[in-house]
């Protein structure tokens, strides 16, 4: 029989000694620092080469880093595959366009915009954060409904979000220009703002991953039942990640708008969804390092194939690969990696130089 008089509470369980402040951050910060250095190396390479097309190619890569890191924040931590995130990129890109295009042009091309937006002409560094927050607010609103779903139902619902946003932006003539291109977005050719966006995305993703919410969400990804039994409010933690990733996707959208100067709804639809998801899957869906490396590796491959498709002159002859090989090679590579390494090249680990301790 158990004694009904309860003995004093065990001393070792009362007020245990807490670790030093920021101990966890200090232990894990090497990952975002390493990834940021990698990004800086890419930028330096572009500047040293001095070639304009190469510079543009590097800018495209940095924009994709921002987008794929944004995807990772939600997909990687929650394990819920989302096909809808490029919708938030669309929101961010158009918001950046609305805020930065010359008001005279907007009055004729986008007359349906509210007056305060019509008259606004912000520099890109002010417009981009606003665009990101706009995308985040919409993600928060949609997420409140979506995050109650799980598994395949949630994935299909995110796809519906993508289709919805695309349909609205393809038809709301006076505000989005419908399917015709919105032109006149100030083009930014300097690579550093894109470096900044990618590094900000990486640090946001890291901060979320080591937060309480990030830990709880990864637990829910592995064992939802046990996570709920551990006090984790799964829809809430998913919503947090969904909103943060919406913000980063919006930031990526603004960056994309300024890198090409023109937006149409179809820039932000299935093509971009497929390519960004492939990069995440190839690198390693549940790893921040995997997200970044996936972009760099696949982008290098795509660039290489483009170069070969255009033709290489060797002496007197030109060797060229057939057009379209790029897409086929990309698809083939994805199938091979999914077959051989379903968790991606990096798996669920992070690049650290310290003792490996799971994920954050």
């Amino acid at each position: 029989m158990t004694d009904t008089s309860i003995s004093p509470f065990p001393v070792e369980l009362t007020n245990p000694k807490k670790p030093a402040r920021f101990a966890l951050a200090r232990r894990t910060i090497i990952t975002p620092i390493f990834l940021s250095l990698l990004i800086l190396a890419v930028a330096t390479l572009a500047i040293m080469t001095g070639s304009r097309p190469f510079n543009q190619a590097m800018i495209d890569i940095l924009v994709r880093v921002t987008l794929v890191v944004g995807l990772y924040i939600f997909i990687g931590n929650s394990g819920v595959l989302s096909f809808g995130h490029i919708g938030f990129t669309c929101l961010g890109a158009y918001a950046a366009a609305w805020l930065t295009i010359n008001p005279l042009m907007k009055k004729t091309s986008l007359p349906g915009l509210p007056n305060f937006i019509l008259q606004a002409r912000l520099p890109y560094w002010e417009a981009a954060p606003i665009a990101a927050i706009f995308a985040g607010v919409i993600a928060l609103i949609l997420g409140r409904i979506l995050m109650r779903l799980s598994g395949i139902a949630a994935s299909i619902a995110t796809f519906a979000v993508l289709a919805m946003i695309n349909t609205i932006y393809s038809n709301w003539e006076s505000v989005t220009g419908a399917t015709s291109s919105v032109v006149g977005i100030p083009i930014v050719r300097n690579i550093w703002p894109y470096v900044g966006a990618a590094i900000i995305a990486i640090f946001i993703a890291w901060g979320h991953a080591i937060s309480r919410s990030g830990l709880a969400l990864r637990a829910a990804r592995d064992e939802p039942t046990a996570a709920a039994a551990s006090g984790v409010d799964i829809p809430k933690e998913r919503l947090v990640a969904f909103t943060i990733s919406g913000i980063v996707m919006g930031l990526g959208g603004a960056a994309m708008a300024h890198s090409i100067g023109v937006v149409t709804p179809d820039n932000f639809y299935l093509g971009l969804t497929f390519i960004t998801l492939s990069m995440l899957v190839v690198g390693g869906m549940s790893s921040l390092s995997g997200a970044v490396l996936g972009v760099l590796l696949l982008s290098a491959l795509i660039q290489g194939l483009r170069w070969l498709e255009a033709g290489v002159v060797l002496g007197e002859t030109t060797f060229a690969l057939p057009k379209g090989l790029q897409e086929i090679a990309l698809g083939g590579l994805m199938i091979v990696i999914l077959a051989l390494r379903p968790a991606g090249l990096i798996g669920n680990r992070e690049i650290t130089f310290a003792r490996f301790k799971g994920k954050a």
Binding site: L215, A228, A229, G231
Partner: protein, 250 residues
């Protein structure tokens, strides 16, 4: 002294009654046992007590107040913890993070949660496992980590679903000692579901026997051991499980 009880709880799945009007009471600092043949409804009852299963009829009462239709995480935040038959650790996370998840789930900062988690591992005696990835642990360690995870934040009640399944006699003895400490030192009300009837008879203050979704017997271990109904329920449906003739000393 607090109570957690299921009162006249019935659960029907597509017309099939999994539980019919079951009443069970768990008391702070006491160990209650829930036994019965496979399919008797034991896990269903734990699911009802922890918000994973909404009862068709009846209520769960915590310290005199009906729990209502709380979600599992809300039930946990009221101090009712549980473990699962299959362990269900967060396999990709280190052991320490497995415990930390409950800490942050209950609203602690990560700093507080990691400190509490370390203290808990130490109290259970598995500090050495702290940085092991949970998915690589042997079975018995997995069980102890799952208990540690459930004990984070000092729940008032803990429901253990077959914690000794697959354990050797020595490991089961060690587990019994841990369960006694949980009740005595932490003041927790414990409910233990076990197929190892010997372990339950030696450990519990009070035992409830379920068969086909209904309580067929309850009382102190001595009563249960003498019960013809219990013997019949076990012999009739699961020949390999029989009541030990004498108390297994633990």
């Amino acid at each position: 002294m607090g109570h957690l009880s299921a009162e006249y709880v019935s659960v029907a799945f597509a017309g099939l009654k999994a539980l019919s009007s079951v009443t069970l009471r768990i008391q702070s600092g006491h160990i209650s046992g829930l036994i019965g043949p496979n399919g008797a409804g034991k896990t269903t009852l734990v699911n009802v007590l922890t918000g994973f299963q909404i009862p068709t009829e009846g209520t769960v009462i915590l310290n005199g107040q009906p729990l209502g239709r709380l979600k599992p995480h809300e039930v946990r935040r009221r101090g009712i913890a549980r473990t699962f038959q299959s362990g269900r650790l967060f396999r990709d996370l280190p052991v320490i993070d497995n415990l930390e998840v409950t800490g942050v789930g209950l609203g602690m900062s990560r700093r507080t949660a990691v400190a509490e988690a370390e203290a808990m591992l130490d109290w259970i005696g598995i500090s050495a496992l702290s940085s092991r990835i949970a998915g690589t642990l042997p079975y018995t360690d997995e069980r102890r980590v799952a208990i540690g995870r459930a004990l984070m934040g000092r729940p008032a009640y803990i429901l253990l679903d077959e914690p000794a399944a697959g354990m050797s006699a020595a490991e089961a003895t060690e587990l019994s000692n841990l369960v006694r400490r949980i009740a005595r030192d932490l003041g927790c009300g414990v409910l233990i579901i076990e197929h190892n009837v010997g372990l339950v008879l030696g450990l519990c203050d009070h035992i409830v026997v379920l068969d086909s979704g209904a309580v067929i017997e309850e009382g102190v271990p001595a009563d249960i051991r003498k019960s013809e109904k219990v013997r019949h329920a076990y012999m009739g449906t699961a020949a390999e499980t029989s009541l030990p003739a004498e108390e297994v000393m633990l």
